[in-house]
């Protein structure tokens, strides 16, 4: 299968900004999907609102572009109503950390059979660069002109604490690891979550003195600390971004009973 058997060429050129990390994520996902052996006709892609929400519109498969923050809520309904379908959610830090946080936590807790790919660009890109729940402390945005005074969410640690079966985080620099994590997530029973720290040069970079995609990308690369090393750092360093560090790696891989098995929908 080539790239445009999977993505809709008739919708090219896409709407993402030059230098956006979403292209890297889509490329890695294409390879992960092909190698996972899943059936394109039996996979449904669901998204919320924001830049990440536009990804399923480019995939040649059944796709549901839903309301802001709610893709996991819709996706759960699809999956339980037709367990033969594989359901993949593309989402962002706005959907998952803010408006849809409760759906995210509870879907992890129930261990719903969904794969959620989060493109975390630390900002509301599509609406013009407002602070999000993952914007690092003291970083700038259009709504934090004096620097962000709030502490950010660590979405991956939240997913672990809430009960997901598979959780991994990488940056757009870690293409191979990202692809491998996506593949594992796609084949994992229960709730699987892959968070990609991604560059948004158009907004996040602009507000934080990183004037090119490359500079944001270099920042992600420099900030990434493997989980094995991060655990030896002081407690503050473990919290994502409190000190500008991004812990990467696999956070959990376990086999808690998945939702539909627990409900008796699946044997």
């Amino acid at each position: 299968m080539n790239f445009f058997d999977f993505y809709r060429q008739d919708r090219w050129p896409h709407m993402f900004c030059p230098g956006c990390g979403i292209g890297t994520v889509m490329n890695a996902f294409f390879h992960a999907f092909v190698e996972s052996g899943l059936d394109q006709n039996k996979t449904v892609f669901v998204a919320g609102i924001g830049c990440s929400g536009r990804i399923p519109g480019y995939i040649r498969a059944d796709s549901l572009h839903t309301t802001h923050g709610r893709p996991i809520a819709f996706a759960g309904g699809i999956k339980v109503a037709d367990p033969d379908l594989k359901v993949v959610v593309f989402s962002g830090d706005g959907d998952l950390g803010a408006i849809g946080g409760n759906h995210f936590i509870n879907a992890c807790r129930r261990n719903v059979e969904l794969t959620v790919i989060c493109i975390n660009n630390y900002i509301y890109g599509m609406t013009g660069g407002q602070a999000s729940t993952t914007t690092p402390r003291d970083f700038f945005s259009s709504t934090t002109p004096y620097g962000n005074r709030e502490y950010p969410f660590d979405l991956s640690e939240v997913a672990v604490a809430a009960g997901a079966n598979y959780v991994a985080r990488w940056t757009t620099f870690h293409v191979k690891q990202m692809k491998k994590a996506m593949q594992k997530a796609l084949l994992k029973d229960g709730f699987s979550f892959v968070e990609i720290a991604s560059q948004c040069p158009a907004q996040f970079g602009r507000y934080n003195q990183m004037n090119s995609a490359r500079q944001v990308f270099e920042w992600l690369k420099a900030s990434a600390v493997p989980r094995s090393k991060a655990s030896k750092l002081s407690a503050d360093h473990l919290d994502l971004n409190l000190m500008g560090k991004i812990t990467v790696g696999e956070f959990v891989e376990r086999n808690r009973e998945s939702y539909m098995k627990a409900l008796g929908v699946l044997q």
Binding site: R11, Q40, N41, K42, V44, V46, P56, G57, R60, A61, D62, S63, L64, H65, T66, T67, R70, A73, F74, A75, G76, G77, I78, K79, V80, A81, D82, D84, L85, N102, H103, N106, L263, G264, V265
Partner: protein, 372 residues
Amino acid sequence: MSKLEPGTYFMQGDEASVEGAIHAGCKFFAGYPITPATEIAERMARRLRQAGGVFLQLEDEITAIAAIIGASWTGTKAMTATSGPGFSLMQENLGYACMTETPIVIVDVQRSGPSTGQPTRAAQGDVMQARWGSHGDYEVIALAPNSVQEMFDLTITAFNLSERYRVPAIVLSDADIGHMRGTFVIPEKVEIVDRKYHTKPVSYNAFAYDENLVPNFPKFGQGHRVHITGLTHDISGYPKTTDAKVHEALVTRLVNKIRLHREDICRAEVINPHADSLVVAYGSPSNSVYEVVNERADVGLFRPITLWPFPEEQLRECAAHARRILVLEMNMGQIYWEVERIARKSPCEKIELLTRLGGDVHTPEEILEKLA
């Protein structure tokens, strides 16, 4: 035991609604506990598994409506039930279901509001919310039962209309009807409507339609590879976010597909249509009017069973003969304005509103006194 056998049953209105849903082919329920609709979720939890369906209790009403929309896209008939506060939370996704033309059924067992109000007391405060609660222009279908029998019947009707027109259908009940215990009959033959499906792959014209204005449904997992979005879209389903003509065509069709079929959708009960005084009532208050019209041949009842779209033509006919019209509502006047709009061109001298709030229903004596 999937659906109940034909016969006479005794149960609560909320429970009868569950049996109606199962009769209609509902296989998916998602909900969140709320008085006075909780009995629907509780009976669904027990009965859907027996009927080969799935019951989900989710984290809030937003999730509940999202989940039934998702389920509907797999070709599954799906429903949720709630009351005012939950219905308020559902409004954004209700608009999403309108925009994506997703058949779903919502049972709203109304209680006194605004806000938390009086959870166990009946009200009719959500009538306009059912019509206008989500942003933008759209039409939905809303039905108002006034008995345990109609909780069964109109839940089936809601599913049938929702399937036929690919639109959310709302059963606008109230705490009295939902909690009322009584008998109802399941007839030998019940008409069940299923949406029309696309049979061949339709990737590039998923929303193509004919003069009926209702596109066939491309359910997920059949190789259609359709894109469904709440953004303005053309017949391909792809977003068209800046083209005024595409937006106008889409929204006009979403509205017209309901307006065009008013005759099929609109139901009303009329007693003494040529009466001098016409009482307009629906839901709980309408039950008090039966006694009045039994005693007084000069008093008629117009009971809209379909609240949205409002049975305008039927009311206009009755209003042409009436000298005065009295509207009964358990709110500060919602359907009243609809009646006023429709009847003001008739020779009718008085169009009045009699309101009851806080769960008290108009008594026959009060109605007679008002008509004296």
